[in-house]
């Protein structure tokens, strides 16, 4: 079972990201669950969401305390939230940032594997909105080997409708090919 925690800000699509991760896994025949950190939602406030993906039925509903993967959709969240809290020592940090991993290690003391991508630029370039969820899904798919561009096609169409799905598919694919995986 892979446990994932996503950090973003209200309106950036952390919850949608979590939903799409789970829906992609379920459409691949796996078991998955996604849920937000439940609270009054406010645009711009730090938001957390959780995902579990497994080959077996998932019989657990507690929050994710020791994630295998942490996804950071907004780099400014790292200044106010300890995003690597509970992250397994062999875990993975996937960060939307233009900065190299070494910089992040120096500033935040991260010790786990890191993959980075300037997801915001891709989002603004292709989607024309500062919403990085499908871009960061591309990072996740690439870094973890969890899904290919073909796997997300159907869930995207279902979630976004045809025309918006095409843009998100392009953003996902650009992220998938450009993600820098460390080490």
């Amino acid at each position: 079972m892979i446990e994932i925690r996503l950090h973003g800000r209200g309106g950036q699509g952390a919850v949608t990201s979590a939903e799409l991760m789970a829906q992609t896994a379920i459409s691949q025949g796996k078991f998955a669950q996604a849920f937000p950190s439940f609270g009054p939602e406010r645009r711009g406030a730090p938001v957390t969401a959780f995902v579990r993906i497994s080959d077996k039925p998932i019989r657990i509903r507690e929050k994710v305390y020791n994630p295998d993967v942490v996804v950071v959709l907004d780099p400014t969240v790292m200044n106010v939230t300890k995003v690597d809290s509970g992250l397994r020592s062999d875990g993975y940090l996937l960060v939307n940032t233009h900065r190299p991993p070494a910089d992040l290690r120096k500033e935040f003391g991260f010790t786990q594997k890191i993959a980075t991508l300037d997801a915001m630029s891709i989002a603004l370039d292709i989607l024309k909105v500062p919403i990085t969820n499908t871009v960061m899904l591309g990072v996740f798919a690439k870094a973890l080997g969890e899904a290919t561009p073909d796997d997300v096609r159907e869930p995207f169409i279902h979630r976004f409708g045809d025309s918006l799905a095409a843009k998100n598919q392009a953003a996902f694919e650009k992220a998938y090919s450009e993600t820098r995986v460390e080490g």
């Binding site: 025949g29 849920f35 509903r61």
Partner: protein
């Protein structure tokens, strides 16, 4: 073979209401029930569900509308949570004696004060005595299936009573998980069109909700209670019929690894999933702990419950609500009263967890299992508010 889809549980409940070809939905949005009625309003607006959607101005009106539409012979659904259920309270008492088979999903949530939008069972416990049947879902699939079953059970002429389908707010209602959506044909095979037992009809006039003075009130209350108690075999029959059509089997009381267990944890709702994972880990460590989950809360399945806990030395009853002013919480109170006159009975201790959305973890169940054993050797202690900060 149908393939599971990743669906938010609230939407799965709304889809079930659609598949049941519901005639009237009267509801007021309240967190965490909102997505259920929001999706239903979409389904009605886009023509997928041919129903009257009544956007009322309060839950008191929602239940009043449901009573009216059900009495007029329409298949009727509503959903609410917490303060919304509290605001319905006056009308909730009226539906059972009038024999109106309204189906209501409750995304269970705490009550104010302090203001809290998160999950526990305070809302449903406040209406446990009003005469509605009550089912508790553990998973998204169950929430969907229980909604379909709700109409089947409630509308059976041997029952013709309203029913609540309880799903934990957020920890169930807002989860995205694999759900098998039945087809309309399958549901039609299982659920016949609604034929009301009684209805307001100008061709055959009747009166409903008349005065019942001291000479008849007792008898009227007894009739409703008798019918509620007698609905249990109808529930079991509906579960069996459901298994034949959909292949998913449900029992009024579910047991997990109770064979040879010294301690049994008793609970309701979605925390049972985490509990089962926790006790698997306990068995691996040599501890014999089982789980009994109450799916049918009203009418309380007395015989099935007694059978399920047979042989246990220790019962740890886990509640999700406080009963203020009594040294036990609601489920434990009932379990104790059921077993008090038994010749052989287990030691019973009571634990309240997960109030107002506090996370309920595997560690909580392991802790409770340990405490149940400790308490049994010092029986003066039998109640604990788990994890309370003092």
């Amino acid at each position: 073979m149908a393939k599971p889809i990743g669906l938010e549980v609230s939407l799965a409940v709304a889809e079930a209401v659609k598949l049941c070809d519901t005639d009237v939905v009267a509801a007021y949005p309240i967190t965490p029930q909102t997505h259920i009625v929001e999706h239903l309003s979409e389904l009605v607006a886009n023509g997928e569900l041919d129903a009257a959607y009544i956007p009322v101005e309060s839950e008191q009106s929602a239940m009043s509308s449901c009573i009216g539409s059900s009495a007029a012979g329409a298949r009727t659904f509503t959903a609410t949570s917490s303060q919304g259920l509290a605001l319905m309270n006056e009308m909730l008492f009226i539906a059972p004696p009038l024999r109106l088979p309204i189906v209501m999903a409750i995304a269970n949530r705490a009550l104010s004060a302090p203001i809290n939008i998160w999950n526990d069972h305070s809302d449903i416990m406040s209406i446990r005595d009003v005469g509605w049947l009550a089912l508790f879902a553990e998973t998204g699939q169950e929430a969907l299936d229980m909604t379909i079953l709700g109409f089947k059970i409630a509308e059976d002429h041997r029952v013709s009573l309203p029913i609540t389908i309880n799903l934990d707010g957020f920890t169930l209602s807002h989860f995205i998980e694999p759900v098998l959506l039945p087809t309309k044909e399958e549901v039609a095979k299982f659920l016949p069109p609604f034929k009301p037992l009684v209805k307001l009809d100008i061709a055959n006039p009747i009166s409903m909700g008349l005065l019942g003075g001291p000479e008849s009130y007792t008898e009227a209350r007894k009739v409703t209670d008798d019918i509620l108690v007698a609905s249990k075999p109808v529930v079991i029959e509906a579960f069996n019929d459901f298994a034949k059509v959909f292949g998913r089997e449900y029992k009024v009381i579910e047991s997990y690894r109770t064979e040879g267990a010294d301690t049994i944890l008793v609970m309701m709702g979605s925390i049972a999933e985490t509990a089962m994972t926790a006790i698997d880990e306990l068995w691996d460590a040599g501890k014999k702990v089982g789980v009994v989950r109450i799916r049918l809360w009203r009418p309380f399945p007395v015989e099935e419950f007694k059978e399920a806990i047979k042989g246990a030395k220790n019962l740890a009853v886990i509640d999700r609500a406080i009963s203020m002013g009594v040294p036990d919480a609601p489920v434990a109170l009932e379990v104790k009263s059921l077993l008090y006159n038994e010749k052989v009975r287990p030691f019973i201790s009571n634990y309240v967890v997960g109030l107002g959305g506090r996370d309920v973890t595997r560690d909580d169940f392991k802790y409770i299992s340990g405490r149940a054993e400790e308490f049994s050797t010092s029986p003066q202690t039998q109640y604990e508010l788990v994890g309370v900060l003092e």
